[in-house]
């Protein structure tokens, strides 16, 4: 048993090297494109594979544009939309998860199945469903027309985009939220009630602190894809008025002659990922420390 067995590294090797080659190296390739140069004749991006020769000119230009140029609006809008969509998702998703975990009773399996179903329905199908409902001749538009509200929901409406994001991502919030609440030690809440806390106090002072780490995890789980989302926006609006960071990345990497700018934006999104990740790790470790105290 002391002799270190070779079998475990051998088993991990194929998967680990796959991830290194097709997940690790591509990140490096993005940096090499972002900090590379532009071919003077063909105007194409030339990656610079040597980190010592990286040229930060383009990155600087994009950063300036984000801080005080044309990209500023896109960035601010992305943050506002994501925060609004997150808050709405919690307002919808938390009560659903809470009810499932605490009060569903005999109907639990049925309700859980119904809540899981959208999780497995194709995202684009769910967006297609709303495009049909919201189009000028769609059921929802006609329904609203009865009340005298005539509004083109699919023509660059921020409300449609934010609610579209909520509709798209809330199932991904409910499931981890439910998993967290299901595992909580509810005896502590009962103890708080026995010691004289009102149900509201018990919720605020016991339930929420216990669920905090799970809430943070769920928040990150939906916030990061939202930051990189471009298809929800494309399908429900496709207007420059609602353009987000993801649309810019999609445009520059996929459809333009300037993949360099796209690469810089990808790096920015990844930086955001690192911030979120470290915040999450810190909040969970703080929570773990408090629990062992």
């Amino acid at each position: 048993m002391k002799r270190s067995p070779r079998i475990w590294p051998a088993l991990a090797a194929p998967g680990a090297s796959w991830l290194l080659a097709l997940f690790g190296i591509p990140f490096y390739a993005v940096a090499c494109v972002a900090f590379g140069t532009i071919d003077p004749i063909f105007r194409d991006a030339v990656p610079q594979w040597n980190p010592l020769a990286w040229d930060f000119g383009q990155a600087h230009e994009v950063l300036t544009s984000v801080l005080s140029g044309p990209l500023q609006g896109v960035f601010l809008r992305t943050v506002v939309y994501v925060v609004a969509a997150m808050a709405t998702s919690f307002a919808v998703g938390f009560p659903v998860a809470y009810f499932l975990a605490r009060h569903a009773g005999k109907r639990k399996l049925l309700l859980l199945t119904l809540v899981i179903v959208p999780f497995w329905v194709n995202y684009l199908m769910r967006m297609l469903a709303w495009v049909n409902l919201l189009s000028p001749s769609g059921l929802f538009s006609r329904f609203m027309g009865v009340f005298g509200i005539h509004y083109n929901w699919l023509d660059g409406s921020p409300i449609t985009v934010v609610l579209g994001l909520v509709y798209g991502y809330v199932p991904f919030l409910i499931l981890p939220m439910y998993a967290t609440l299901e595992r909580l030690d509810w005896r502590l809440v009962e103890a708080a009630r026995d010691l004289g806390a009102t149900s509201r106090q018990a919720f605020r002072l016991v339930t929420i602190p216990m669920a905090q780490a799970g809430m943070a995890a769920a928040a990150i789980l939906i916030a990061l894809p939202m930051f990189g989302d471009y298809y929800t926006n494309d399908l429900l609006s496709r207007s420059p008025r609602t353009e987000m960071l993801g649309n810019q990345i999609d445009f520059y990497v996929n459809n333009s002659q300037q993949p360099q700018r796209g690469a810089v934006l990808v790096l920015m999104l990844s930086a955001l990922l690192l911030v979120a990740l470290s915040w999450y790790l810190r909040s969970t470790s703080r929570y773990a420390k408090e629990r062992t105290k």
Partner: protein, 287 residues
């Protein structure tokens, strides 16, 4: 106080269920519309499913091609990723020290990386570094495998943790080699997680849009989600609804077969968790 909450919460949850499912059900219903409109009901027909000689899902060559592409991509990804993922999960579970941390990091970062980052990074890699890999099916396959490995690792590791090391140690004490203990004791016990991985990866890949879209090479490698995306805004007929319905049906069929298989396996092994436990295997949440 409590009584009021009990009335508010059920309203919210039933409201949520209706809000999340009814639009989809309406979209499915409109695939049976007799007219060309996806929004104005003109009577029931199977025109867009099988009737129309050119534009129905059954007869439209490009739609059939997209369905074919989607199935091939999902099945090949599953075949490659499940063995790699299982072996990585077992290996990573037993590694200690610095290499364990490295592997842990390598497998958990993809879980929270936005797909657009992976898609864009792989596109730049395949067009500028690994230029031997052409865009289209080969690149889409590699991309989907890369993005799915971590999901398999998470599912299998959860199972490894719940199995514990006791069974393998017992086998070793009785004279089994490390490999024999793995092959004859651990592997059969891992079966539910293998099944769950198959289902989860298949459903994820067949639904995947971002990576498959970034790495596609045009109409040739168009999958069903790509097709939906590119035609939603145009004047597509209800055949599009039918195509999307077919996609949803496919993943649900696989999911239901998986759940059924899982609860059957559990019953045969004297575990009465049934459907609830099977659901937990697939969603990684206790049912």
């Amino acid at each position: 106080m409590t009584r009021r909450r009990f009335r508010v919460l059920p309203t919210i949850i039933w409201g949520y269920v209706i809000w999340s499912l009814v639009p989809v059900i309406i979209a499915v219903a409109y695939s049976f519309n007799d007219g060309r409109s996806r929004t104005v009901w003109q009577g029931f027909s199977l025109r867009w499913w099988i009737g129309d000689p050119n534009a129905s899902v059954l007869h439209d060559a490009s739609m059939r091609h997209a369905i074919f592409n989607s199935l091939v991509l999902a099945v090949t990804t599953v075949v490659i990723v499940v063995p790699i993922g299982i072996s990585l999960a077992i290996g990573a579970h037993r590694l200690r020290g610095r290499s364990a941390t490295a592997v842990q990091g390598l497998t958990s970062v993809p879980l929270i990386t936005p797909e657009i980052v992976v898609g864009a990074a792989l596109l730049l890699t395949f067009t500028r570094l690994f230029t031997g890999i052409p865009l289209g099916f080969p690149a889409q396959l590699l991309g989907n495998v890369t993005f799915s490995i971590s999901a398999v690792v998470v599912i299998v590791r959860a199972r490894l943790v719940s199995i514990g090391s006791g069974f393998e140690e017992a086998a070793r004490d009785l004279g089994a080699t490390r490999f024999q203990a793995l092959r004859y004791v651990l592997m059969p016990m891992l079966w539910p997680s293998v099944m769950a991985s198959l289902v989860v990866v298949f459903a994820t890949v067949i639904d995947d849009f971002v990576i498959t879209s970034f790495l596609s090479s045009g109409v040739d490698s168009e999958t069903v989600p790509l097709r939906i995306y590119s035609s939603v805004k145009g004047g597509a007929t209800p055949a599009l609804n039918a195509l999307a319905t077919l996609l949803v049906l496919t993943s649900f069929t696989v999911l239901i077969c998986g759940l059924f298989g899982l609860s059957l396996w559990r019953k045969r092994h004297g575990d009465n968790g049934g459907l609830r436990a099977a659901l937990a295997d697939v969603t990684q949440a206790d049912a």
